[in-house]
């Protein structure tokens, strides 16, 4: 818990992203197997995070798979949001958190998600300036997007289990077809 009264806290849930330019805002999220990518442009003073969980089967994570397209989509939403608020792609830097190995039967999901984030950022040429992924405990993450400061607290075993239980419904695949815009 932060004691700073002036801080405006904004919570980001799974499947969401937030971009802010207000230095008093702290973005927070709770991660089990999920991964959050924190990105900012230090010059423009804009930053944000996303929070995602891709299904971890090798098939789903294959490069041409729906899960990968979904993950890329969430990354792109965050990047587009940053660019819209004045960030420049060549100045972006990232930190990644989460991807805990929380329960045996989904043992590789967190790892796969962290791997996806790392690979995406490398492919896009966005430097990773900080990372805390893997491990057996979930994380409570706080990120000050404008300064790039990040702080995390390890969840207890019970908290981790609760968090992971809530993550049990990973968004399996892209939105259903009827969400697509189409005309003629």
């Amino acid at each position: 818990m932060t004691l700073d009264a002036a801080v405006k806290r904004v919570h980001v849930i799974q499947g969401e992203y937030k971009v802010v330019t207000d230095p008093d805002v702290v973005l927070s999220t709770i991660l089990g197997s999920c991964v959050a990518a924190c990105m900012r442009d230090p010059v423009a003073g804009v930053g944000g995070i996303n929070h995602f969980l891709l299904p971890g089967s090798a098939e789903a994570m294959s490069s041409g798979g729906d899960a990968t397209r979904y993950g890329v989509h969430l990354m792109e939403l965050l990047i587009n949001g940053l660019l819209k608020k004045g960030a420049r792609r060549d100045r972006l830097e990232a930190k990644i958190f989460g991807g805990a190995k929380t329960i045996a039967r989904f043992s590789n999901v967190g790892e796969q998600n962290a791997l996806f984030a790392r690979r995406f950022l490398q492919d896009e040429g966005i430097p990773i300036v900080g990372e805390s992924t893997g491990g057996e405990h979930g994380r409570k993450l706080e990120y000050w997007p404008v300064t790039g400061r990040a702080r995390q607290y390890a969840l207890t075993g019970v908290e981790t289990q609760k968090t992971v239980a809530q993550e049990q419904r990973p968004v399996p695949a892209p939105k259903p077809a009827d969400n697509s815009i189409e005309f003629f």
Partner: protein, 129 residues
């Protein structure tokens, strides 16, 4: 030779990963002649020098966005008949209206599925196989 093999496609997206994914999806649909560009400006230059039958372009890009590219393609007599499919990460109605007014053949929301992509392309070129 299938129809897909004969069609020259130009992919325009500022994200490396998105270009790779779209390229892979198109290969799965049987396309062989695929060129890539990193923004609208580069896409317009490629189209002017070497017209492609089909342009699949992202909307949100630096330098020249998808609408700018669409306009450039439609105003050049050599490329004005090319099929143009716009992709957008933000499902924005206003964008669809603008794209339609400028002559886009379709607008697909990301993340697209391969079947959606196939349907959008087949709506222009007929069955790919």
């Amino acid at each position: 030779m299938s129809i897909a093999e004969k069609i020259k496609v130009l992919i325009v997206d500022d994200q490396v990963t998105s270009r790779l994914l779209l390229g892979e999806a198109l290969q799965q649909l049987g396309f062989k002649q695929i060129t890539v560009a990193a923004d609208g400006e580069q896409g317009a230059k490629i189209m002017a020098q070497q017209p492609h039958h089909l342009v699949i372009s992202d909307f949100n890009m630096p330098k020249m966005d998808g609408l700018g590219l669409l306009q450039a393609v439609r105003t050049n007599p050599a490329t004005k008949k090319a099929a143009f499919i716009m992709l957008t990460a933000q499902g924005d109605r206003a964008l669809v209206t603008k794209a339609a007014a400028l002559g886009a053949n379709n607008v697909l929301a990301k993340p697209f599925t391969i079947e959606k992509m196939r349907a959008a392309i087949e709506a222009v070129f007929g069955a790919l196989k």
